[in-house]
Symmetry: C2
Subunit: 384 residues, 2 copies
DNA sequence: CCGGTCCATGAATCCGATA
DNA sequence: GTATCGGATTCATGGACCG
């Protein structure tokens, strides 16, 4: 059965690519030292599947802030977060997003995380550049820092924007069923709850101080990667920092590329990633639903004999009927076509899912022809 | 004691303004029919306390694309026209935000609600116009519409931006203590959970169809108004729609001004608001914290005899001690000063709340001198 | 080893009245 | 405008320390 072969091919391909180091491209599974835009420009066009970007937030902090016990809040006042103006920040954003778009496959997608300080500018720039926003995702923090002065609401979340490279680029990966299954069988929502990165996961230097001021939790990256990539995909992080993206990508059987300017961060990230043990294939199997299942066309049912040419199909209430033709089309009155087109035609509708509309006689009862696809699929499963 | 009078004055002022209809300004507690910007330009400068805006976000960038003048664009993939549409939306946003800023008091604040289709543009424009973002607030929907195609995450939230008119405008109202008390005595977070507007609350026409497509839940507006206004304040809604802002403002003892173009919405909103029964003064009393209490200086305690000159104060762990002097200062070693300055000095800190730092002997136990202020305050209360 | 207490800390645009 | 200064203000978590 020919339709099985692409599946096997895919598996072989995944297997070959599933371990870091097995690729011939020298830039894959490495951290590139340098400026974000220059480094991106050195990478091949349309070469990465997903980009996760945690750019500077441009916090614009004023003086110092003390807790009620008078201890000093360790602010993010690093040089890399300083911008002269919104215009400067916008130009920076535009530059790295444009560079990202060239490197991103048309079937890829991009994630950008930020706070209210910068995320609106990032989102508007994404739109200006004709990226197509798929969702904005809210990371709700279980343990955010309080508002110490009681002058605002506690800033308890950050925002991620998920976008495809254009409105027409609909080939992006979204493991809908895996997300749904992971969420007690209801759709995964746009608000996610995770703790901030603390405890053992937080990288500390020999002095006991945090290596990076804004290390993201691995759980957050794990959901991003599980939702929007396939095993073997390449995940690029243009602001690599402490390397959370790389560590999670490796653990989940994906490839990574990191870009980072500061050697201290590169060293910490490299050591961190080296210590990661990739999960086995079994744990990695992305739970898939119908969309990821092997496509079984109607003619396969006819060819396999599960549906016979000349057989009569009807709708669930036997109001309409059609005759199966040998070529895998169906006919009714003077009309003929695919199960979907004919189903729409007889009902006078624009569209119709023929798999659930058309039924066949099974003893006393009517069953949708979709049931027969699962027979085919379980046969395919035995081949694995 | 003179410091009591301002409090009494404030109470009298609030009482005079606390019922709709008691104001002489003709535009207050009305719905103005017309274009948002023109209507705003007819209102007095610096005249409203809070603005809540739910602007249209019909960007029309997919499917059928229209130019700003509503003519149909023939080529949907024409990038120039898409860019032009964003520009038109930005110009519109800029125009109504500028008009809002003139009408808004310097001590006021503005809320804007939107989704990922428009909120990034709104946020960036707010920043461009030098509004100062205080928080972005996430409305998490308990019952969002599912994503029917399974190609994205369920869009389960909307975003509100809360901003003051400038970075220097720090006089905005934030009822921190009321919010905290309402939230089981922990700070109110930036993510709020509410159901979408449904059931009885949802306005329906005689045909049974919803009057307005995006009617907001009253609970959401109630939290916005309770958090950022005082009783008697004027709340302006430049995109009034079904009048949720007006209905909630009236119920909560605030004044409203609505601007709306469509007569059908105006009629529905007017009838809705007319049926609203304002809450009584007792129900409207806003929870306040220490900042709102009558100021009692330390020397009042000494003058009243609650603390005696020569008495020894210590911190809670008896690590530091100080002697009270007759002039209301305290001394320790070679240092002397206010309870706050000396508390800071002995600890080597920049600041210290002397009221909670210094303790006095009360039988077996140590009690903060702050306890004695409540004695003074209850005496003052009897005089009122 | 267990439980209690103390302490440190996290992407933070964090005071306001009076002189 | 700026400078001064009274005094108000925090939640969850993990690790250290102690009895």
């Amino acid at each position: 059965m020919a339709s099985v072969f692409p599946l096997a091919d895919l598996k072989a391909s995944v297997k070959a690519d599933s371990r870091p180091g097995s690729r011939s491209d020298s830039w894959v599974d490495t951290i590139i030292k340098g400026d974000c835009v220059s480094a991106l420009e050195a990478l091949p066009t349309h070469s990465v599947d997903v980009i996760f970007a945690d750019p500077p937030y441009n916090l614009q902090l004023g003086g110092t802030l003390h807790r009620p016990d008078q201890s000093l809040v360790d602010a993010v006042d690093d040089e890399w977060d300083q911008f002269a103006s919104f215009e400067a920040y916008d130009a920076f954003t535009r530059a790295w997003l444009l560079a990202c778009r060239r490197v991103l496959k048309p079937t890829g997608s991009i994630w950008v995380i930020g706070s209210y300080h910068n995320i609106f500018r990032v989102g508007a720039t994404l739109q200006d550049l004709n990226f197509w926003i798929l969702n904005d995702i809210i990371w709700r923090k279980t343990n955010p820092m309080p508002n110490f002065k009681g002058r605002r609401f506690q800033n308890a979340h950050e925002t991620m924007i998920w976008a495809s490279p254009s409105a027409k680029a609909k080939g992006y990966t979204f493991n809908y069923d895996a997300m749904k299954a992971a969420n007690d069988d209801v759709q995964m929502r746009s608000d996610w709850l995770f703790p901030i990165c603390n405890g053992n996961e937080r990288l500390k230097g020999e002095d006991g101080k945090k290596v990076h001021p804004t290390q993201k939790p691995e759980a957050l990256l794990a959901r991003v990667i599980m939702a929007s990539t396939k095993p073997g995909d390449i995940v690029l992080d243009p602001f690599f920092g402490s390397g959370t993206t790389g560590a999670v990508a490796k653990r989940l059987g994906r490839h990574f590329v990191g870009i980072e300017r500061e050697q201290d961060y590169i060293d910490a990230a490299a050591a961190r990633i080296a210590a990661v043990e990739p999960l086995g294939k079994a744990e990695l199997t992305v739970m898939t639903g119908k969309k990821a299942e092997v496509r079984v066309a109607f003619n396969v049912l006819v060819e396999s004999g599960l549906i016979k040419p000349g057989q009569v199909l009807t709708d669930a209430k036997r109001r309409y009927s059609a005759i199966v033709r040998a070529d895998g089309t169906v006919a009714s009155g003077g009309d003929a076509g695919s199960i979907h087109r004919l189903g729409a035609k007889v009902q006078g509708l624009d569209a119709c899912n023929g798999w659930t509309f058309w039924h066949f006689e099974d003893g006393q009862s009517l069953r949708p022809i979709d049931d027969l696809r699962s027979v085919i699929r379980s046969d395919l499963a035995k081949v694995e």
